[in-house]
């Protein structure tokens, strides 16, 4: 790791000042130190936020959950009120990483985790538009079994690695930030940026922004949402595909609200709006679900070695929705 200085600010203002003078924020450290050792992150000054007061609260009210950015993944996953109110959050967290990493990584840091694209993570590849804007994409045409099929561009096909983020996208969460200009709230749907022509811009954060927390509204579909993750290894692996799905039905058995977000197959946590639209207001019959699920990958652009996900994702949607309806009945 390159040489860096270390500070442990006692307030957001002090952290903000450190950030303004070129510092890099450290939450749990599981992302930053990994990337620093690879030479991908090159912090000059590390600002350790882990002891910043006030960002470690979980609060569940009648209408929403509020989660401080410095909450550890394991604590959020085990929080009884959260588990009761929003089970998909805990499910997504427990499907992530390992128990040790979940004890270290913060919710804020987890939101900001970087792609696992091997071409991004190996500094000896000169071409990576995320690392060096305009340098090209070494991944396209290479080993891309785990790369994205949705939200890709000619400049980047790196998969978003998150689990929690997928759940949050399904749950219409709101990200709260602080900067010297004051606090700000932005929709999770605006938070992650698909690569487009500027893969280096991964998050809709301004340079002085510090993620301070999350708010998740308690809609009925969100409260019954679940998270399912598929992978070759039974544990401790990033998703081959994952889904966060929420559903509520009207009294006459039609789809009132539906949320479907996908992980492991897109450059950002991917909301499958076309699938939702096809089912909203409809009776969720097996045929309707199958037809809707088939829409998920309609705009997918597979690589030579990840075409198997074209069938996998609709099957995952179909299975998950069918089981949710079965369980609700």
């Amino acid at each position: 790791m390159m040489d860096f200085s270390y500070m442990r600010p006692a307030s957001l203002e002090a952290a903000g000042a450190g950030l303004a003078s070129g510092g890099t924020l450290l939450g749990g450290g599981t992302g930053l130190l990994d990337l620093a050792r690879l030479g991908i992150a090159q912090p000059q000054a590390v600002i350790d936020l882990t002891r910043l007061p006030g960002l470690d609260r979980i609060e569940v009210t009648g209408t929403e959950a509020r989660i401080g950015a410095l909450i550890k993944m394991s604590r959020l996953a085990a929080h009884p009120a959260m588990r009761a109110a929003l089970p998909a959050v805990g499910q997504s967290l427990l499907a992530s990483a390992s128990p040790q990493i979940r004890n270290m990584a913060t919710i804020g840091g987890n939101l900001l985790q970087r792609t696992r694209c091997a071409y991004f993570r190996d500094a000896s590849f000169g071409s990576c538009n995320r690392r060096n804007p305009g340098s090209g994409c070494a991944a396209i045409g290479g080993v891309t079994r785990g790369h994205a099929l949705l939200g890709t561009s000619a400049h980047c096909i790196a998969t978003h690695p998150g689990d929690l983020a997928v759940a949050l996208v399904a749950l219409d969460a709101v990200v709260e930030t602080w900067s010297p200009d004051g606090p700000r709230a932005l929709s999770i749907h605006d938070f992650f940026l698909a690569p487009g022509a500027t893969p280096e811009k991964e998050f809709a954060l301004a340079s002085g922004d510090i993620v301070t927390g999350l708010r998740i509204p308690l809609a009925p579909a969100a409260q019954r949402a679940r998270y399912v993750k598929l992978r070759d290894r039974a544990s401790y692996e990033f998703a081959a595909a994952s889904i966060a799905a929420g559903l509520s039905l009207t009294d006459d058995g039609r789809v009132a609200d539906i949320r479907i977000a996908l992980g492991g197959v897109a450059t950002i946590p991917w909301r499958a709006r076309a699938v939702e639209a096809a089912l909203r207001g409809q009776r969720p019959t097996p045929a309707a679900i199958a037809a809707a699920a088939a829409l998920a990958m309609r705009e997918a652009e597979p690589q030579h070695d990840n075409r198997h996900k074209l069938a996998l994702v609709p099957a995952l949607i179909e299975r998950t929705l069918t089981e949710m309806i079965g369980d609700a009945a």
């Binding site: 200085s5 130190l33 390992s98 039974a234």
Partner: protein
């Protein structure tokens, strides 16, 4: 450059003073500065679990923790697990009884993880133990015996806790 800075770590109940650079990880500080080599380096990227230690009672990876980050926290390593008279911890005894290790390299991490796994209440069934011990790779393939050892130790600790 950032010169080494003095730091006091509370390791296995003892304050230990050392002088390390900000970039030094807890793992390298334990191994290279404090001669506590029971904690092992397997990957240095949070992908194997060999460096598992406890910080304030919770299992974490020492390879992705800066030494300065845990200043003042209570750090427990494998060296501090047995009693002062050398009596093995219930998990250590169970590992021996079940032959839950071969080469022994991942073992300190497995044991620290297992102690936490039981304490967290994640040792209720073989399935649960497998999932909550999945962050500790063992290439010798001691997994079934590790599951048996965690079950055995969990039962023993439960009995010890009874009045």
């Amino acid at each position: 450059m950032s010169p080494p800075r003095p730091l006091t770590l509370i390791i296995n109940g003892e304050p230990r003073a050392l002088l390390v650079e900000p970039r030094t990880t807890l793992l390298d500080a334990l191994r290279e500065n404090l001669d506590l080599t029971g904690t092992k380096k397997g990957c240095d990227h949070g992908q194997c679990g060999a460096c598992t230690v406890h910080v304030d009672g919770e299992r974490v990876l020492a390879c992705l923790t800066l030494a300065h980050q845990v200043e003042g926290a209570r750090i427990a390593t494998i060296e501090g697990l047995a009693g002062p008279d050398g009596t093995l911890h219930a998990v250590q005894k169970a590992f021996l009884a079940e032959d839950a290790f071969q080469c022994g390299y991942c073992t300190p991490g497995q044991i620290m993880s297992a102690v936490a796994c039981i304490r967290e209440g994640h040792a209720g069934s073989p399935e649960e133990i497998r999932e909550f011990m999945a962050g500790n790779l063992c290439r010798c393939g001691a997994y079934p015996h590790i599951v048996a050892a965690v079950q055995r130790a969990a039962q023993a600790l439960e009995q010890e806790a009874l009045p």
